[in-house]
Symmetry: D2
Subunit: 100 residues, 4 copies
Amino acid sequence: MHLIADLCVVPIGVGVSVSTYVAACETVLKEAGLEHRLHAYGTNIEGDWDEVMAAIKRCHEVIHGMGAPRISTTLKMGTRTDRDQSMDDKVRSVEEKLGG
Amino acid sequence: MHLIADLCVVPIGVGVSVSTYVAACETVLKEAGLEHRLHAYGTNIEGDWDEVMAAIKRCHEVIHGMGAPRISTTLKMGTRTDRDQSMDDKVRSVEEKLGG
Amino acid sequence: MHLIADLCVVPIGVGVSVSTYVAACETVLKEAGLEHRLHAYGTNIEGDWDEVMAAIKRCHEVIHGMGAPRISTTLKMGTRTDRDQSMDDKVRSVEEKLGG
Amino acid sequence: MHLIADLCVVPIGVGVSVSTYVAACETVLKEAGLEHRLHAYGTNIEGDWDEVMAAIKRCHEVIHGMGAPRISTTLKMGTRTDRDQSMDDKVRSVEEKLGG
């Protein structure tokens, strides 16, 4: 099952700056070989459901391993069976409507 | 890794009423033996990370199998290493502050 | 415009326990006269769009006023024009399918 | 109060393709003069709390006006009082850690 996801990980109990932990997640996603794109409030991820989910679990493990006692993550997950669609397709589909 | 999650599954392309699909998810969670509680905008779920995630994948499979061509899910996921905490603990912790 | 929402406020930079801040939000919602129900990963809220949104803004102001330097909130918002639906209706609609 | 938000609007009951409705939201945000950036699972928005929230309400009104009987939106909202931070700052902060 192909998945397009949007991951936003918030470590709690490590102070106000969380970018070090977000960067560690980016590294996890890169090492997993998953296509991913950082934006200002999360990261788009695309790939096989099991591979994406394994990487997200690894993100929690790595962030706890860095010393964060608590994590609250918001994850959006989109699947569809009617056709193949990539992250690029989703953005292009909206931009075409805007350009028309 | 113990997980407290909040699952909100939105089937797309099946008309305006989605309760049949949400009910199918409730059945998946029950059959998985996971503690879960329906509320007005999702379902709280508690359990081992892998078991919760397997059930959520099964929810997508079941809903697609019912004919929904597209699903957009919002999932919140909380983990902590500093102490054990159940769904009841979380609610009680807030209610104690309100009662105080 | 009638709104059914689900609010999850995460104060950042105030340590690992956030229940005091969540309790302050519950008080804001109560004082706003909005129907609301705490669950294990947020609070369901029902009411007029502007009143709900004013209360959520007030939550951010109150939590910052308590000393939290940063807040990350996840809010789900449901509106519909085809019929009136309350939080109770939503839960009942799913439960009827489960009972059937 | 300065707000960095992430908006994901899902119209329900209008079939499987939702890009026309997402494009209408982009137009609302543009007309509101708000800085915003489309990604593959939502749109980052930055601006004054009241202006961002007024635009999001307008998105719901416009989408209902286009014929969608039901909308389920997921919104992330970040505020901070310790320092000014833009959407660019957030991305740069993570990228600096990755480059270091």
